[in-house]
Amino acid sequence: MLKYIVRRLLIMLPIILGIIFIVFSILEFTPGDPVSMILGQDATPELIKLKREELGLNKPFLTRYITYVLDIVRGDFGTMYASGNSVGEAIARRLPVTLELSILSILLAVIVGIPLGVLSAVKQYSIIDIFSILFAMILSAMPGFWLGLMLILIFSTKLGLFPSFGVGDGLISFILPCITLSATYTAVIVRMTRSCMLEVINQDYVRTARAKGATESHIIGKHALRNAMLPVLTTVGMYFGALMGGAVIAETVFSLPGLGTLLVSGITAKDTPTVLGCVTVIATSISLINLSVDVAYAYIDPRIKAQYASMGLVKVKVRKRK
């Protein structure tokens, strides 16, 4: 397994470098000059030139790109153009918030979605099934921005149960934002779990297990669920990426100091160090989560473990029958 992990980590490096190059090019070649925005109304052509020199923006494209990459490798994310504040510090402060938000949202979606999906598959066409599908459709149709504000209005203003903004109250502050963010994903999990379970339940080996006399809950819990979980696990990887990006909406509505809002403000100000720093960190997080998902596959599904083994990446113990 270690060999597999190391190989995946090595592949990550050129991917991240490529991402940095693409984003850097986009920032460079789209219109908009950070210096004019910093100097504002007092800008004159001479001042603009002075400021550009001060920030090192007069150097050629490739020079700046290479300098930047070398700095990142050393762990130096640079400073923001407007304030001179350290980008690395800002990211370090905000990353935990976004990570917590994303991970808790996925957990919430999984905890609510999987049982619901299983139930509706087992009791296909019953009231529970219809309710689950309806629930899933409504959730996925709600725009995040609207849902967030509605939750604030109901649970914060009217009922006073939750704070309307900020992370000051610990875990409580994350409840409403997590509900907002996980809405779409919960819908996906419910439907995916349901359809995977349905597929599995009708398989021959399930019929065999029933014939052998296994209890229904044993069949569902041990055999069916395990097989149905694979596609769901895939979506965890995909959605983690979507959540890290989509966290911007929840962060804005609930005023959470996360990476998403930092990224957006960096883009608006065309602050290259901020944008590149955030993108690098987000890309790395997503890659690492996807790696974890792939490793988890091997433990859940022996067939996949065998696949890795055949590629020489994993050692599999074979018990010899005596």
Partner: protein, 523 residues
């Protein structure tokens, strides 16, 4: 068997949810809903409150006053730092850290006698040397290079006398000295603090920093060493950062915050507070100006008659009503009441679509033409109204919103027909807008309008201390701008300060730069 399994599952889910809610109750005080129109209280009578919770729409960049860029930065810096001069409650410039402030006969030597015995929050006494240090630091910052071009030298004549020598008269300096970017820093504190001195800022203001959780909250506490005047009644200020305008309104409604300043509550949301006696809304309409610029270097806008035709086709009242929910004051000229230079006798072009069509025909465009208006952000709404108004006289407008960076780049290339934008005033004098918008070499001259006469008049108002003469110059400026019509003034948007009615806010500050030391809770 099945039922038990399901029961367990359901119980687990319920337990998880209860766990989340039980994990720390989070709220120390009960929040009463403000929905019934009742004043949200914290369970403590207003008279004994000594803290103030202010909603801030963006986080500040830095606690270094010289790095301040936006009004939120200035608002916070103003509570911590002090300047040589300040605006009083009537918006007039008066000495603050200086006892006496004199300008010499030749208008080139500015002398400040600094009050003796004023203490910084670290216990150090304020002296002229601190002013010298502050100016040293400003002069090394490229953002201030434009101003320092006017300054020949500055020095401490003695321990409490600070002198600035200009190389030509520049009266705008008096406004700048009251601006929080020019706040006096303590040499000791900044030099010994190194690069991160701003994490523990030292100022002469009534408050000092207690805590700054970036992106979340800034807490200021009363500076007990403050001796410029009485200690302020409010002892703690919590600036809560709420980035979304809707959430800000909700937070004020539910009592999570007490006060919103700066630009205030968004125009579309402020009416619920204005009609509610538990909240006070103070409007002012002289700090944010919206306008439509025409590119006088490009046909057909190089033709005065075409520009005048467009001016007659615009119905400003409708724009104010539809785009700003009525929260705006129509602008006949570039300046509003409350901005020095305002002249109420100068009239704008009245809304007259027939006359507009006549003028267009006269100019040879009886069939109209097409044009593109560039704009930034939410102003697209205003643009669309203009689009329909110009359609009535046969001009086909397409509106293009850009982000600020792209907008600046496009306009500076000169390749545009028109743009619709807004600018804020840095100080309550016409030059603050007219200089960047119409001076020939300004980067913010977005109408391509160059006129030696205008440049001369702008220079005149910058270098004269005579109010009467300056007003004459402004009247002339505004008349030229009206006659030549490179820009169609639209309106001044109303900014507001909205707050809990139990808070006593004695005056509407100039440029929305409030001082918390003058506020108190009513008992």
């Amino acid at each position: 068997m099945k039922h038990r399994r399901h029961a367990v599952l359901i119980a687990l889910v319920l337990a998880f949810l209860t766990l989340l809610t039980a994990c720390g109750t989070g709220r120390e005080e009960p929040i009463e809903s403000g929905v019934d129109g009742e004043s949200p209280t914290t369970g403590v009578s207003s008279g004994s409150r000594t803290d103030l919770i202010i909603g801030l729409s963006t986080d500040i960049l830095s606690l270094d006053p010289q790095a301040g860029l936006a009004s939120n930065d200035f608002n916070v810096h103003m509570q911590i730092y002090g300047n040589l001069l300040k605006y009083d409650e009537n918006g007039q410039i008066v000495p603050y850290l200086a006892d006496v402030f004199e300008i010499s006969e030749d208008e080139l030597v500015w002398t400040f006698k600094i009050k003796q015995g004023v203490l910084f929050s670290n216990g150090e006494e304020l002296t002229a040397d601190d002013a010298v240090f502050t100016f040293d630091r400003l002069s090394q910052n490229t953002s201030f290079a434009g101003v320092f071009a006017y300054i020949a030298e500055y020095s401490a004549i003695d321990e409490y006398t600070f002198e600035i020598r200009l190389n030509k008269p520049y009266f705008i300096l008096k406004y700048l000295l009251a601006d929080s970017k020019y706040a006096i820093l303590n040499r000791e504190a900044v030099e010994s603090g190194g690069e991160n001195w701003a994490n523990d800022p030292v100022g002469t203001g009534p408050y000092k920093l207690s805590e700054w959780s970036t992106g979340e909250e800034i807490v200021l506490v009363r500076n007990e060493a403050y001796n410029l005047s009485e200690l302020p009644p409010i002892e703690t200020i919590h600036y809560k950062i709420i980035t979304d305008a809707n959430t800000m309104a909700v937070a004020l409604q539910s009592g999570d915050i007490d006060f919103v300043g700066g630009t205030g509550i968004a125009a579309s949301l402020v009416s619920q507070f204005a009609s509610n006696p538990d909240y006070t809304v103070l409007f002012s309409a002289n700090s944010a100006y919206e306008f439509l610029n025409l590119n006088t270097q490009k046909a057909p806008f190089d033709n005065l008659v075409v520009r005048q035709a467009i001016a007659h086709a615009i119905d400003k009242d409708s724009i104010i009503l539809m785009a700003a929910e009525g929260n705006g004051v129509k602008a006949d000229t570039q300046l509003a009441d409350g901005v020095f230079g305002y002249d109420s006798t100068i009239e704008g072009y009245e809304y007259n679509p027939e006359k507009a069509k006549e003028l267009l025909t006269e100019a040879g465009y009886a069939d109209g033409f097409s044009m593109t208006i560039y704009t930034v952000g939410a102003r697209i709404n205003i643009c669309e109204i203009i689009q329909s108004q110009l359609a009535e006289i046969g001009i086909n407008v397409s509106c293009e919103p850009l982000d600020l960076g792209a907008f600046l780049a496009t306009i500076s290339s000169g390749d545009y027909d028109a743009n619709m934008m807004g600018l804020g005033l840095s100080y309550p004098e016409g030059e603050s807008l007219l200089n960047p918008m119409f001076e020939s070499s300004s980067a913010y001259n977005w109408c391509g309008f160059t006129s030696a006469e205008i440049d001369e008049l702008i220079l005149a108002v910058q270098s004269s201390g005579d109010d009467e003469y300056r007003q004459e110059c402004y009247s002339e400026l505004l008349t030229i701008l009206r006659d030549d019509c490179p820009q169609i003034p639209l309106y001044y948007s109303m900014t507001n300060m909205t707050f809990d009615s139990s808070l006593n806010v004695p005056y509407v500050p100039v440029l929305n730069l409030y001082r918390v030391e003058d506020m108190s809770w009513k008992s």
